[in-house]
């Protein structure tokens, strides 16, 4: 396995919005322009963003808007002219994403990143890239990177209903699509699709999606002796290991201190064996925050 670096160069900067449009039911794609020397970023990493204006030293900081940033996996990174262009996918679930939805082209968003661990790329394996719902985001970036490097992979993309599919563009070819309600693709879940994956595939499984799906994929991979990496999420305070807020129940540590890993620093991409799935489920894993 090739492991790549992380957290090499995290910065905060104002990004200009190039595009912000709906691509599926409650799913939006935001394209942002950043300086050319931003990053380097790799598949699996995230950015932590806020649509709020910068705090000014002589203005009382009573922050009428949102206080914290919100994390999003990178769905794509490229270069246009002398700028780095990144893409994120978001659903409107609360106050911040509602604000984001209203941002027009040329408006600004404050971006901290790129942060977190990366999906390892194994040139020798036919990997399975599994995305559920808006969890497809980091897999789009990983798949594009695998495609660019001519490495074999199969993309598996599950949603509840066909209207939720983000367009896959050139990545659609050979992808296994599932909708739970049978409104398109295969009827069922990503696990049903995995059963139909090419026989030579699977040595490495990379997944992102809701807790129940990730747990099922991890179990499926484990039963077949495949290595499984998952991209996880909890409520983030800072995204850069200052607060310790994004704890996820862990297994296999040495002692008391190792009972939790931090999604921002130890993840978001972690080996599935490191997670105590049952403990996490009982705690109501990664429930989208209710309210504002």
């Amino acid at each position: 396995m090739i492991e790549t670096g992380q957290g090499d160069h995290i910065t905060t900067c104002r990004a200009e919005i190039l595009g912000n449009r709906q691509v599926a039911r409650n799913l939006f794609r935001l394209r942002l322009a950043l300086p050319s020397d931003w990053g380097p970023a790799e598949p699996g990493q995230f950015v932590n963003v806020t649509p709020e204006p910068a705090w000014e030293e002589n203005v009382p900081g009573d922050a009428g808007g949102s206080l914290l940033r919100r994390p999003f996996s990178l769905a794509g990174v490229g270069h246009e002219g002398n700028r780095t262009v990144i893409e994120i996918l978001y659903a409107v679930v609360g106050k911040v994403t509602r604000q984001m939805q209203r941002l027009p082209p040329r408006a600004h968003l404050d971006v901290l990143g790129p942060a977190g661990t990366v999906f390892p790329i194994d040139p020798g394996a036919h990997s399975l890239l599994v995305g559920g719902g808006r969890g497809i985001a980091p897999l789009l970036y990983l798949a594009a990177e695998q495609r660019r490097r001519k490495l074999p992979f199969t993309l598996v993309y599950g949603v509840r209903t066909a209207e939720e599919w983000a367009p896959l563009g050139p990545l659609a070819r050979g992808a296994l699509l599932t909708a739970e309600d049978g409104s398109g693709g295969l009827r069922g879940t990503v696990i049903d699709a995995l059963e139909q994956a090419p026989a030579e595939s699977g040595a490495a499984v990379m997944a992102c999606g809701p807790h129940g799906m990730l747990h099922a994929v991890a179990k499926w991979a484990h039963e077949r002796g495949h290595t499984c990496w998952v991209s996880v999420e909890e409520v983030f305070g800072c995204g850069v290991a200052l607060c310790g807020g994004c704890a996820i129940p862990a297994r296999g540590g040495d002692g008391e201190y190792d009972r939790y890993l931090w999604a921002c620093r130890d993840g978001p991409v972690v080996r599935s064996e490191r997670i105590d799935w049952e403990a996490w489920r009982q705690l109501g894993a990664a429930t989208p925050p209710a309210g504002p």
């Binding site: 905060t12 705090w55 994004c246 209710a290």
Partner: protein
């Protein structure tokens, strides 16, 4: 505008025997141990670095979710997850010395003896001062020490016997009379007081009809608590002779000036670091500019110079 450049404003302050080049510190628990990405946090610019709270034994911290954003605030229930004092003193503290600012180690415990034993270990290694976290609302015995003057006194007394280093006691605002607790700490030898830790708070998930935080209540921080914190700082500063370090919802240099006017000798930046990891550095720069604009040459001359109306009721 005064005629000189902003760079000339003297921001130095003293907290008893501890001299700081400027009054801005990180608040415990909002800055990791202090060495998380020094370039991003610009830790070098701070007057002092306060570490995350360290306890005698390693602690796993509380189950997730540990955070919930509220209007202009943040509820947390981290639960003092830390590596324990031995590992901290051996592996982490030495590398904090290279960051630049004096290092103030935040110490927590379940018993008065825990604090004393941590102080003993820290007395054998390099650090500038100890901050006693006697006010964490997110651990079993967290608030007991700062809810009673006698209990708070016991902790400070035990630590005072084991170290000659400056001791700052971090007080809880979740008390009826914060001055009584502060006075008890000072009488036992605390060199200063840090006010305030988080306010007890709670959030309910209406869909699930259950508390958002598994431990039901957590600690509220952020701009939402700034007026509440400021009020406690003012009470302490006017009633007690020791240095008071103000903390609670400070985001900008202007916020910091509110606390300094009210009598705080220094300030800590906490939750604001989560959005802007270099917030402290920006507050330092902002203080230079704002004080220069006010024609203040020395911060020491400015601290506590709040002009009270003649009708102020004591």
């Amino acid at each position: 505008m005064s005629g000189h450049t902003a760079r000339e404003v003297d921001l130095s302050v003293d907290l008893g025997s501890l001299e700081l080049s400027n009054p801005v510190m990180s608040a415990s628990g909002t800055f990791g141990y202090g060495d998380e990405d020094p370039e991003l946090t610009q830790v070098r610019a701070l007057g002092a670095l306060v570490t995350k709270t360290v306890t005698l034994n390693p602690r796993a911290g509380n189950p997730p979710p540990r955070l919930c954003e509220t209007p202009a605030g943040l509820l947390n229930s981290i639960g003092l997850q830390n590596v324990g004092i031995q590992t901290f003193a051996r592996e982490i503290l030495p590398r904090l010395q290279d960051l630049g600012p004096p290092v103030i180690v935040s110490v927590g415990g379940s018993t008065a003896d825990d604090y004393a034993r941590c102080a003993e270990i820290l007395d054998r290694v390099e650090c500038a001062a100890l901050e006693l976290n006697i006010s964490c609302p997110n651990v079993a015995s967290g608030l007991e020490f700062s809810r009673s003057p006698a209990e708070a006194a016991k902790v400070v007394r035990g630590v005072r016997r084991r170290t000659k280093r400056p001791i700052f006691a971090k007080l809880s605002p979740n008390v009826t009379d914060i001055v009584a607790v502060g006075r008890a700490c000072v009488e036992e030898g605390a060199d200063g007081l840090v006010a305030v830790n988080t306010f007890l708070g709670m959030a309910v998930d209406v869909e699930r009809e259950q508390p958002v935080l598994p431990r039901v209540v957590g600690g509220l921080s952020g701009p939402a608590i700034r007026p509440l914190a400021l009020c406690r700082v003012w009470e302490l500063a006017r009633c007690l002779p020791c240095p008071v370090i103000g903390v609670g919802g400070i985001v900008t240099a202007r916020d910091a000036l509110e606390f300094l006017l009210a009598g705080a000798r220094a300030v800590q930046i906490g939750t604001a670091n989560f959005r802007e990891p270099a917030r402290g550095a920006k507050v330092v720069a902002g203080l230079r500019t704002l004080l220069d604009e006010k024609g203040v040459n020395r911060l020491r001359d400015f601290v506590g110079r709040l002009r009270l109306p003649p009708t102020e009721v004591s």
